[in-house]
């Protein structure tokens, strides 16, 4: 199979000897991704801080004696206003000028202090606007937090022994409550994300260059010079597919490395460990992952070159490859939301099986047979596609010569 090395070398030189091309294929997407992610996380962090620093504007109706003092004691910053006009308060909450309206019943204090068994329990009502960040934060803090503390305080005045009311607690002092394999847990989190990212990176990295590989040569009229060389059509095909595999492999390594290095920036300061995605891989797992990733890169490159062969122009190839990308993307996403154990025959479904197997390797749940099936199906389909491409190279119509 002479010529594969030369063809592959030329395709690689096209990318790696051209600074502009290198920049646009490997670095520009990374820079854009990091910039966008950093911007988004910084903005959301700023918004969060802003909400935290905001002093809630509270309207309290029929505030019981000592409520103001209780709030002060609880060290909560707030601006409190008495309710004079209910409609005005409602309006203020609606347009975001006020954050929370607490309505104590008029007889609150008497009802609480004079409570007899069988009396109706008084109700405190709170009103807020969930569309307003400040209002939602005030509601979360006061309605579910501060008022509960206030209830406990009043309850303590009514009941001598608070312990009596607490039949049992759940995990109030149990630091060992989580029993799990740390390795597997890390794999689970990463396993839901990794197949998705690998899919995007391997396919997207190869897409731009791959569509040009054959359709571009046809368009520029340079394909015929290759076709009169004394090498087999299949060598031309393999040379191009291997080059594309290397390019997509390199681009995904660059992307993943950039993601790991710039993770703190992109997540606004939190590291992978905080998110529970720290993971140590065994040598076996790494070997299985590596073999599978090579097989996936082979299949994806074959798919993209196939599209490029049947297209007359690069533009046409780009539009044909989009639905393929969508399909691969959807199959990648499905594993993110699958909770049931996949059946054995799922590992016969191309593309989907690679996502399952990637996840399975990380969670250590994939069996040897399932892994073997995935690898076999992926390589076999890739080989079939190479055969189809080589056949298409023989066709005068397809090659437009």
């Amino acid at each position: 199979m002479g010529g594969i090395k030369q063809i592959c070398g030329k395709e690689l030189a096209r990318v790696f000897k051209d600074v502009k091309m290198m920049f646009s294929v490997f670095f520009l997407p990374v820079i854009i991704m990091i910039a966008v992610m950093s911007l988004v996380s910084n903005m959301s962090l700023k918004a969060e801080q802003d909400v935290e620093e905001h002093v809630p504007v509270l309207y309290v109706e029929n505030a019981p004696d000592g409520f103001d003092g209780f709030l002060k004691q609880a060290e909560i910053a707030y601006t409190l206003y008495p309710v004079e006009d209910r409609e005005m308060v409602k309006e203020s909450i609606l347009n975001g000028d006020a954050d929370l309206w607490i309505e104590f019943p008029a007889n609150f204090q008497e009802a609480v202090s004079d409570y007899q068994t069988g009396d109706e329990v008084v109700q405190v009502k709170t009103y807020y606007n969930p569309s307003e960040e400040y209002s939602r934060a005030a509601y979360n803090m006061i309605s579910t937090g501060v008022l509960e503390m206030y209830r406990q305080k009043l309850l303590a005045q009514r009941v001598d022994d608070m312990q009596k009311l607490t039949v049992f607690t759940v995990n109030s002092d149990n630091p060992d409550m989580v029993i799990q394999d740390e390795q597997k847990a890390g794999g689970k989190v990463l396993g839901t994300m990794l197949p998705y990212f690998v899919t995007i990176l391997l396919f997207a990295g190869a897409m731009g260059i791959g569509t040009d590989m054959v359709a571009g040569e046809k368009e520029r009229g340079t394909m015929a010079s290759l076709l009169v060389s004394p090498i087999k059509r299949s060598s031309i095909v393999l040379g191009k597919v291997f080059a594309l595999m290397i390019i997509s492999g390199v681009s995904s390594v660059v992307y993943v490395a950039a993601m790991v290095i710039f993770m703190p920036q992109m997540l606004g300061g939190s590291s992978g460990e905080d998110l529970g995605i720290s993971l140590t891989l065994g040598a076996g797992q790494i070997a299985m992952l590596a073999a599978l990733l090579v097989a996936i890169a082979f299949l994806y490159s074959a798919v993209i070159v196939l599209v490029s062969v049947f297209a007359k122009t690069v533009k046409e190839a780009s539009s044909y490859v989009m639905p393929m990308y969508m399909l691969v993307l959807v199959l990648g996403i499905t594993t993110m939301f699958t909770t049931s154990t996949p059946k054995d025959w799922f590992y016969m479904i191309p593309v989907y099986n690679t996502s399952l197997a990637l996840q399975g390797i990380l969670t250590q749940e994939v069996t040897g047979v399932q892994y073997g099936m995935t690898l076999g199906v992926t390589l076999a389909l890739g080989a079939v596609l190479i055969g189809v491409i080589a056949k298409a190279f023989e066709s005068e119509k397809v090659m437009a010569i």
Partner: protein
């Protein structure tokens, strides 16, 4: 040696092509039962008007397209059975074949040299000779896209001859070249012939055929209507020059006065 036995090439036209050529027949016979023989040490010229089937014939010889019927032997290898061996023996160039614009002439020369398994020292010697002859040296490092049409054509010729082929097939060799470069190319073809190589060209330029071809095959509508040395064709048609001879043959074929 090139031997074509009863070559027929029929194209299937799609609807758009049928509309363009104003026909309802989806089959177009480009070459019709053509046979010829060209031997080492000669320049054989396929002469004919546009659309006569010259380029199709040369493309069949070069294994780019497959004959519908018939056999073609190139240096003893049949084009459909041993295409790689055929391609090993030939250098093929047409105006349609272009070099990758992103690479330099130097890179393309080395690339095709390696594809043709030319050893490193021979590759260097070939580069020396061809770059000197076609005066490429000054722009060898430039990318093909930066070259003028003439420079690009010269580069393409040099690259197609990298492996010192025994058989050189040129489709319209001087098409688009300025008069000086065209002369350089035709002189080089003569040089190749003198070295004992077989050169087969297609042309519609009568003076070119007259000057450089040892034997000429006249093709009209995919069929060979005359073949021989210039004086033989002139004698056969009773004319004084090739242009008159061609029109005589054309009139006979088409059955109409011109």
């Amino acid at each position: 040696m090139i031997e074509i036995r009863n070559l027929t090439k029929i194209y299937k036209l799609n609807k758009k092509q049928m509309k363009e050529s104003k026909t309802t027949n989806p089959l177009k016979t480009a070459v019709d039962d053509l046979s010829l023989r060209a031997v080492p040490g000669e320049i054989y010229g396929l002469l004919g008007p546009n659309g006569a089937g010259k380029t199709t014939t040369l493309r069949c010889i070069s294994t780019i397209i497959r004959p519908t019927k018939g056999e073609i032997y190139v240096a003893g290898h049949e084009v459909q059975k041993e295409p790689e061996q055929v391609r090993e023996k030939i250098g093929f160039l047409t105006g349609d074949i272009k070099l990758d614009p992103q690479f330099s002439v130097d890179y393309m020369f080395d690339f095709f040299g390696k594809l043709h398994h030319v050893p490193q020292d021979k590759l260097r010697a070939r580069k020396e000779e061809l770059f000197d002859y076609f005066e490429i040296r000054d722009f060898a490092h430039k990318k093909i896209k930066e070259l003028s049409t003439g420079m690009g054509q010269k580069a393409a010729i040099a690259v197609c001859l990298v492996h010192d082929p025994d058989i050189v097939i040129f489709d319209e060799p001087t098409n688009g070249l300025d008069v000086v470069t065209a002369r350089g190319v035709t002189d080089y073809l003569k040089k190749l012939k003198n070295e004992g190589k077989l050169v087969i060209i297609s042309t519609h330029i009568m003076s070119e055929a007259e000057k450089i071809c040892d034997r000429i095959g006249v093709i009209i509508d995919g069929q060979k209507v005359a073949e021989g040395r210039l004086h033989e064709i002139l004698q056969e048609t009773g004319t004084g020059d090739l242009e008159d001879a061609f029109f005589e043959l054309y009139r006979e074929r088409k059955g109409e006065a011109l």
